[in-house]
């Protein structure tokens, strides 16, 4: 498997939080780390960064995406789609 870029890792985490949030109203960190295919310590560092940027907020013992987080995920997906259509990925 090819090495993932930073953006791809962020996308995987945000998407996992989004899907978990839709299903259970909040995302469990262990499940998100597993879905994003990341070691837990690395996932926690990235999660802290996402919280600091206001993309994700803590809710009880889980996490949910903010509006900013959703628009960031949309932007990443749109960007990927554009690059795919241009034949660059």
């Amino acid at each position: 498997m090819a090495r993932r870029s930073k953006v791809e890792i962020y996308q995987a985490i945000l998407l996992a939080i989004h899907l978990e949030g839709n299903q259970f109203q909040k995302a469990s960190p262990t499940r998100v780390a597993h879905q994003a295919n990341l070691p837990y310590d690395r996932f926690q560092k990235i999660l802290e960064h996402l919280i600091k940027k206001g993309l994700v907020i803590q809710k009880d013992d889980g996490f949910i995406m903010t509006k900013k987080g959703i628009s960031c995920l949309e932007e990443i997906q749109r960007n990927n789609d554009f690059l795919k259509r241009m034949g660059l990925v």
């Binding site: 870029s5 930073k6 953006v7 998407l15 949309e74 990443i76 960007n79 259509r85 034949g87």
Partner: protein
């Protein structure tokens, strides 16, 4: 009438190329992959080239017009070279760093400046080849660059799985850009003004197609996976 059409097409080309350069820069800023820098820089060079096409058309009767033509040729070929660069490195396992890219960019700008210095400082008795003679070599180089991208994209289409229809627009747009260069090449050979205008029109169509590809992806909801 044909003259006005040429000016309008040149202005349209430069506006569209600047818009594309901005959109590709936005893409780069999000992705942070150095190989993507080739696209905004390439389209910016193409925009500069279109501006000099406009200047060449307006000031065609002045002695400086050949200098405008030189800049137009150089910036166009450098622009295409940068776009090819992005495609060539998109599949490469060799990582392209931002510093290496800046080095290539500076070397390209230096080459344009060197040509300008050569034009202005060459003694009159040592005449440089006419820009209208070398024009054809530049066009052939451009067609070669675009041919590489078309081949690259067709190869990608052949190996693609899933939504292949999404991947068709880009090779078509590059093919139209190739025809545009071929058309201008014909103008260089037989001086047909219609070929020149057709080349410019094709270029505008190709840029509009790239813009359309971006707009097609601009309105979407978060999708699962």
């Amino acid at each position: 009438m044909l003259f006005e059409a040429q000016i309008i097409l040149a202005v349209l080309s430069s506006i569209l190329a600047v818009a594309l350069s901005y959109l590709f820069f936005k893409t780069y800023r999000l992705q942070h992959s150095a190989f993507l820098l080739g696209l905004p820089v390439g389209f910016l060079f193409l925009a500069i080239s279109s501006i000099f096409t406009c200047l060449f058309l307006v000031y065609g009767s002045l002695a400086i017009s050949s200098t405008f033509f030189w800049i137009r040729l150089l910036t166009r070929t450098i622009g295409f070279a940068f776009i090819v660069f992005s495609y060539a490195f998109s599949n490469s396992t060799i990582g392209m760093t931002r510093n290496a890219f800046v080095g290539i960019l500076l070397a390209s700008i230096a080459s344009v400046l060197l040509v300008l210095v050569a034009i202005f400082l060459t003694p009159p008795n040592l005449e440089l080849p006419s820009v209208y003679v070398v024009d054809e070599y530049f066009r052939i180089t451009n067609m070669f660059f675009l041919g590489y991208i078309i081949y690259f994209l067709i190869h990608k289409l052949e190996t693609a799985t899933g939504e292949v229809s999404k991947l068709v627009s880009a090779p078509i747009a590059f093919a139209i850009l190739w025809i545009s260069q071929f058309s201008t090449f014909i103008w260089g050979v037989d001086g047909s003004l219609t070929a020149f205008v057709a080349g410019q029109a094709m270029q505008v169509i190709a840029y509009a197609m790239f813009l359309r590809i971006y707009l097609l992806t601009s309105k979407r909801q978060v999708q699962d996976g």
